[in-house]
């Protein structure tokens, strides 16, 4: 059974700097759909990816997009070759991205994020405006509903809908 918040806690407690992007960021902002994975954007420096691998080691991480779902076995050399990592773990799916469409690399994504406090964790999540920008840039049919939800959430907030602090 997935436990996406525990998965985030693993990555956060390993000291890895990341921003929550994609569908899960939409959930943070109030979207009503269900997503089965977490997308994060982080620096793709070998040290960061090796720290990520260590944080997930006992969760049996595998490359979920590769034939045979190969185990995550990064080395200092191979870690420098990836632009994205699509992982499955015992706690759920984790997609790690080096860039976000419409926003840019980790530094740009971080600049477009805001902190949120969840169960003692301080997490960075894309702002609602940045999330809308990235969905518009992707322009995929599957993003249409998410985009409509995000735009409606922004409109509700601007219209003064009661929001929890």
């Amino acid at each position: 059974m997935s436990d996406l918040l525990s998965l985030l806690r693993r990555v956060s407690e390993a000291g890895i700097e990341f921003v929550i992007v994609g569908g899960f960021a939409g959930i943070v902002h109030g979207c009503t759909y269900v997503t089965q994975d977490i997308d994060i954007c982080c620096a793709f420096a070998p040290d960061t990816l090796l720290a990520l691998q260590e944080a997930l080691a006992d969760l049996h991480p595998v490359h979920r997009m590769t034939p045979g779902r190969k185990p995550l076995e990064l080395t200092a050399e191979s870690a420098g070759r990836f632009a994205n990592l699509y992982l499955d773990t015992d706690l759920g799916r984790l997609d790690c991205l080096s860039t976000v469409e419409g926003l840019g690399d980790f530094a740009q994504v971080k600049a477009a994020s805001e902190p949120v406090e969840v169960e003692g964790m301080r997490l960075n999540v894309l702002t609602l405006d940045a999330l809308i920008q990235s969905r518009q840039a992707l322009n995929r049919p599957r993003d249409r509903e998410a985009l409509k939800q995000l735009q409606a959430l922004r409109a509700l907030k601007e219209g003064g809908a009661k929001e929890s602090p």
């Binding site: 997935s2 943070v28 009503t32 406090e117 735009q151 409606a152 409109a155 509700l156 929890s164």
Partner: protein
């Protein structure tokens, strides 16, 4: 005094107006009342409710695979 630039005007033109966005979502079949309810929750509550929904989805998927 701040003045509006051409790019500001363009950005404003491209931005969906609030009432239009809410109506567009409703027309698309989105439950806007549920979005409003979610905004009243804390982030932790939103994530907790999502996790409950995800657990249900995974149980149903598992059941249909049998």
């Amino acid at each position: 005094m701040a003045t509006e630039t051409t790019s500001d005007k363009q950005a404003g033109k491209n931005r969906v107006q609030p009432l239009d966005a809410i109506q567009a979502a409703a027309d698309y079949g989105i439950d806007v009342a549920q979005l409003r309810d979610n905004l009243a929750l804390t982030v932790a509550e939103r994530l907790r409710r999502h996790q409950i929904a995800l657990n249900t989805v995974e149980k149903l998927q598992k059941a249909t695979r049998r």
